[in-house]
Symmetry: D2
Subunit: 280 residues, 4 copies
């Protein structure tokens, strides 16, 4: 396994898709040096998009994190979040009525943006009739009563369930992780023997959305012009590979320099490039 | 599918293993008429044993539920609980030290009976060194912090995890269920990619324990002399079948009369007898 | 569950995506009356596309099945096959070299169309170096030696594996099914603990391809203008629902009229419409 | 991880359970030096038992492999095979009639020993009525037609399926493996959504059988007097640990010296001892 300089790898690609967590930021916020790297990409005419499994807040709020000299470096419309796919799906398939959700109040944004009423699961009776249930975030509710509530609501009424973030865990500091809403979804799905609808990497739809948005500015863009950069083999690299674009694994997040080679061999998920971080 | 009278079916078997929940009791307690049926079994010389996936309290406390005219009908030593297998396993493999657990304080009985110190997970730091972790019950702790705590403890220290009850859910009233500790174990096991040790039906060890106890009184007992009675195909009937004893499904609990035939065909788990309840 | 007339349902949608097997054809070929129905769709200005999990032959060969009065009713370019996604992926990610495959010689079309050399697994040694392995069809090879060969090649060399058809089984006559290549892929993936790349419904990429092709003719097409029609909840309906288009389940194939309601409830996969067949 | 001398470890245990493949023999036969080690165990009064996931031939035939100076070192009655559990189960639950099987003709021994008629799957029609289906070995039949035959027989008639060997693969030479019948069972079970009955390590029943046999000679034997020795964490060590006996991992088979520590950490399956081989 060769470690390449990210600057050299990026040279070849006019469009770069970036995972946020583990690449641009960590549990403490945006990493030192990142705003300068992004400003430099833009100065050289590269288009960048964030492709993130996150439905905890709106793209507008996310955009506020990347600021240099008072200037927003990555606009809301450069963010493709798994939450947006939920909004899009609700608009297409649910259309009107109430959607019950698990998550923080801020995550209700993704239901309300579809013109629907968002109802915390905690406020529902077991008999409650809703059009769909959305699993948005692992925080903002009491797990035991609310998971039991979701389970019994779904045993009574056959409504679709969408999961906005298929990640099993997420890092909360350099050594610890927390159970993510994707795992709570797996738990419920296994008990009900039903099929939930999952959005987020590695699902290729995330990449299609970003690709479509990139095409607006550059209609002759081809997939070979795009590089997906991420810290996680199972989501960023597997998804980018499946979508048919080149992929770069960075070792600044979930995948440590010590583990990278073993994990690539063990999972069969092979990035086109491996770089220490995008700062290199 | 023929529905047989339980009294007639039971006639042929000198020893009867009974599941508790859904057979003898429900969420409100012991069913009307059950004490008389048990007293009648004993009057006719049948030996009975409870074989139950339960680690929420000790056999002594469980025995107090079955009383007729002030007389305990099913003694503590006629109870084989999945919790007892945990005690037995801890005695054999852990021997001394501290065991962290998820569950109600009463379930710590099964750790303390092995001569070990029981520590609620809530009192542990992520760095805590324990000899094993035991998942005993779904109640008695706050799920979000304590599941995250168990997850991170196990990422730091490679210790065995035992689950005292492999059931995925349990009924809390005629229409609702609750997520059981077995499902919380599945969630953690999936995230860690480790192998936990599960005790309880359908695992055949439960039946071995009951069989060994029955042999004490009747050393010439053969497996064909035993009938396992339960309300759940996936635990009672699958486990009894695998152990090689005859099985009777009763329709007084998890499996409703409307569903029984469909479920038997769908799962391929075939009881030797089907009865409405043990009161018939 | 209400059974609607397909003609009435289809009225509202200018674009119709159709599964082939179980909708237009069965094990004996195209169903009686289907060519007339298709001709009628076209006469009324509807655009139709076949969206099929099939990599056993080229779209050109598939198109020859739908003929009325010597006229090809569904052109090759109206066929979206899971095999085409494999070709597309190989073009994007492999680019040159040799790809070993399991399947009939005809299925090699999907490798050769990407400008690559197709090598039957049977002709490979365990040491063989190839760029990727493609699982294309369940026929055309000897399972025991060739699955063992694929397994050992993948234990030696870490190369990507693509599966052209994720279906677990397919019907071979009204009462019997055959194990499909998707299940052979699951078997190998489980043994290797690696992540293979699967193409085909329910994956939403299939629908994106069809959508993109429909946009060429009608650039103002919206997803709500499209109806997906299929006989299988797990692929056609789940995939269409996830892509955000309306779905119609027909009862002329995998899902029988007796089972439809039970299966919809059991799986939680809910079609917008249910019709006896597209002939109604 | 400390590597101990097996001779020193074994000193403490009057009874030793041994896996065969990877411990006593490999693909070429019994390892050099093994007969002498076994003879020495017996000279020092230790009782040994083979506990093996194997249903390819009878214990009588297996016993012929361990010979020193014309003397059979490990008698047939010291072999506990997963095939014996199948025989035992068929005797208890099927009693009479015909059992269809996948496997070599020699493996039919385990059906015929239960007094039943053994029928190769290849000789069955899809309509065939049998009392049970037994998956005994991966060889002796043509996979594609016979797996499809088993699948369709089980879709027609709801009969129990027993698997005599739950191992996913087995080594055929130092670098290659072959798909075992356990994996073929997983494939069929997944397609049918039914529950098969699996025998073999890590299931604790294997250990119970060996324990019961050891008790005959020494009725005061306790579990702490027994050591289980094997080369595979997932079967030998997990099973021995669950049964509550001490376990020793040897590095002469499936687990290489380089991988042992990583695998113990990754799986959470912790042996009490690690030794290079039983020759040390």
């Amino acid at each position: 396994m060769q470690i390449a300089s990210f600057a050299e790898v990026a040279e070849r690609y006019p469009v770069i898709f970036l995972d946020a967590y583990g690449v641009l930021k960590n549990y403490r916020g945006v990493l030192t040096g990142i705003p300068e790297v992004i400003a430099n990409f833009e100065a050289r005419g590269k288009e960048i998009f964030i492709v993130t499994n996150d439905a905890s807040k709106s793209p507008e709020i996310m955009a506020r994190a990347y600021v240099l000299a008072g200037h927003e470096l990555i606009r809301a419309d450069q963010h493709i979040t798994s939450g947006m796919l939920v909004t899009d799906w609700l608009s297409a398939k649910v259309r009107n009525g109430r959607v019950a959700y698990l998550g923080k109040p801020e995550s209700a944004y993704y239901i309300e943006s579809a013109g629907l009423e968002a109802l915390p699961i905690a406020s529902c009776s077991y008999e409650e009739r809703v059009e769909a249930i959305a699993l948005l975030d692992d925080e903002g509710f009491d797990w035991q009563p609310d998971l039991n509530r979701a389970l019994n609501m779904l045993r009574r009424h056959n409504v679709p369930v969408v999961i906005a973030n298929a990640d099993p865990t997420y890092p909360v500091n350099p050594s610890d992780v927390a159970v993510a809403v994707g795992s709570l979804g797996n738990l419920l799905e296994g008990l009900l023997h039903k099929r939930f609808i999952r959005f987020g990497k590695p699902d290729a739809i995330m990449f299609y959305y970003a690709f479509e948005r990139a095409l607006i500015k550059n209609p002759s863009l081809r997939r070979q012009d795009i590089l997906m950069v991420g810290d996680t083999l199972e989501t960023d690299i597997l998804g980018g590979n499946k979508f048919g674009i080149d992929t770069a694994l960075v070792l600044s997040g979930n995948t440590s320099p010590d583990d990278a080679e073993t994990q690539i061999r063990a999972t069969g998920i092979i990035p086109d490039h491996v770089c220490a971080s995008i700062l290199t």
